[in-house]
């Protein structure tokens, strides 16, 4: 769908993107991660053709990105905004027409969306009369009204209360099921794990990590397990097939131990060691969360 190749973007005095390449697969949800100022928005602006890269290219559906692709892209910027004094219905239609829709088509689709999201009464209202959350909802509709093939969302959940965030999330997933490719940037790692098929992590203008979420997390497995057992406390020495990272007891007679396997052993060896001694309640592999990976990766680079 979208192939970003060796993008370099420099502003006077600093580099926003240096040699960034990524692939966004068609029909998937792609998360663009990175701390503030990493270059995410610069990259998004290049995909939206708001700015042009100094070098490198963006390929959209096999073609070099050009003005004709604008109508296939929907963009929700991080800084939300609409005309404050314009009626919402009129404004939505205007924005949709700028994306190439006819007036009647825009009106028809707008009706559909307003009914779907319970906004029928908003037509004649002005943006300044709405709450912040309502404005966001309206802006989301404006982003997807022209049924773009690629939807770019910059921090889509910021500013939504949990109920509306859930509604928007469902809408995003549904659009994705209908075939739209979603590219969004976020700091919220739990949404990344929940929604994204693939991610790219950008830090200080460099891409430092990308790939499928599952693969990335798997590659960060480091033979760490969490064990909960009941019974007498086991005194670990050097004879067991693992080393103990930490140990705690939340209630009398139950212990939680975090362990790391020694070379050449697996989780079965742990159980074999423990079962004769205690009752094992739980054995769980500790896979680092995206959050931990994110922090670890970012901290690696000074």
């Amino acid at each position: 769908m979208l192939s970003i190749r060796n993008i370099v973007k420099q502003y006077a005095g600093h580099t926003a993107l240096s040699d960034v390449s990524l692939e966004v697969e068609s029909g998937k949800i792609f998360g663009l991660l990175g701390p503030n100022g990493a270059g995410k928005t610069s990259l998004i602006r290049i995909i939206n053709q708001i700015t042009a890269p100094d070098s490198g290219e963006v390929i959209f559906n096999g073609e070099r990105l050009n003005q004709s692709h604008i109508e296939q892209i929907g963009y929700l910027p991080e800084e939300r905004g609409l005309y404050k004094k314009m009626e919402i219905g009129e404004q939505m239609i205007y924005l949709a027409r700028l994306k190439g829709l006819s007036r009647d088509e825009a009106r028809r689709r707008l009706k559909f969306w307003f009914e779907k999201l319970g906004m029928e009464t908003w037509w004649k209202m002005k943006i300044e009369e709405l709450s912040k959350g309502m404005q966001q909802k309206a802006q989301f509709v404006a982003t997807v009204l022209h049924e773009p093939k690629l939807i770019i969302l910059d921090e889509p959940f910021s500013g939504f209360d949990p109920v509306n965030a859930e509604i928007i999330k469902e809408e995003i997933l549904e659009l994705n099921r209908q075939g739209a490719t979603i590219l969004f940037s976020t700091h919220r790692m739990e949404t990344v794990e929940e929604l994204c098929d693939s991610i790219a992590l950008i830090h200080k203008s460099h891409k430092i990590l990308d790939g499928k979420v599952k693969n990335i997390r798997n590659s960060y497995r480091n033979e760490t397990y969490l064990i909960e057992y009941s019974g007498p406390r086991v005194d670990f020495d050097e004879s067991q097939p693992f080393t103990v990272d930490s140990e705690k007891s939340e209630e009398e007679g139950t212990y939680i131990v975090r362990i790391k396997l020694k070379e050449g052993f697996n989780s079965n060896n742990v159980l074999q060691y423990l079962i004769p001694r205690v009752r094992v309640n739980m054995l769980q592999e500790v896979i680092p969360s995206m959050n931990e990976i994110f922090i670890e990766k970012v901290n690696l680079i000074p």
Binding site: A52, R97, K99
Partner: protein, 416 residues
Amino acid sequence: MQKVLLIIQREYLTRVRKKSFIIMIFVVPGLILAMGGVITLVSKNSDQINTEQTVKVVDESGIFKGKFHDVPKIKFQTSTQSLKETKASTSADSLLTLYIPANYSAKPNSVQIFSKKKPPFKLTGEIEKQMNDIAVNTSLMEHHIDTAYMRTLKSNISLNAVEITDSGDKDANVGANVAVGIACAILIYMSLFIYGAQVMRGVIEEKTNRIIEVIISSVKPFQLMLGKIIGVGLVGLTQFAAWIILSVVSTKVLGQAFHAPQGSMMSFLAVLQTIPFGYILGCFIFYFLSGYLLYSALFAAVGSAVDSETETQQFMFPITLPLLFTYILSVSILFQAPDSPLAVWLSMIPFTAPVAMMVRIPFHVPGWQLAISMSLMVVGFLGTTYVAARIYRVGVLMYGKKASFKEIIKWFFYKE
């Protein structure tokens, strides 16, 4: 192109639908109507010698006896009665008493005129003139100066006077032309500011609303800027058209309302008819449009460089300085010396030409000067639009960065 039309449409409609726009359309012709009304009323009042006025002369000096001659609407009568009796007899509106004491020449202000109402200026002027003539003649005779010789002298003088009145007639015409020229210059000056500021405010609004990013993901910044400038410009033209139509209609209505073709109102209109309106209107529209395109592009660039209207000051000053400078020169000096080198140069430089040229237009500007000035205007607005567009495309995406001139120059050289 279709998107630019869409933007023009939005910019135009949102402004034209505003209450303030509709109010402005009616307020200005209303003011013109009121002004016309005042002129008519004033001319009606000063034209009071419609009815025959009879002046009874009480002449204690004896010098003026029988020497007053009647002019249309003013009759002189020599009163044989005393001042008191004459005053009592002139109680009607059209009767006046002129009292000349015996020693009038010793006390210049001792000549008095009594009437029930304040006498019209035309009447007192006529009396003063006749009295002065009589007194001068009397003095000449007393000093044994050859009145025949004097008469030849005098006829010379009156010949001069005819010339003066002749050219005075023409003067009035030029005066009206100058007035129209200056009015156009002032109108251009003000509308460049008003509509330029509207463009700037529109740009700032889009920037502070953050809608700019949504829009320029759909259209190029230049298209947005162009659409906004043209849209607001059309609002300006609509406003002018509405004003002209309403003014013409209201003047007609006014003429109807006062029914009788009032002397000075009609002569005022007659003078207006001598002005080549087509020519001046054509020049006005050209200089308004080209000047507007030139300045509004700069205003748009300023709007893109700031985050709020209060920050615009430092950029507005250098932009508006040439305009302000020309405006002050135009209404004070330029119209008196429309062919001076200063005036010619100012009417050539695109930044000052819209105002300076409008002042010169009534004085038959040579065709080649007009041609050069107009071509330079076109080059000028293309140039500023190019520069402004380069600043604009970067500026609208810069939030929270305090722009300086140095910064803006850097933006100009940014690649896409």
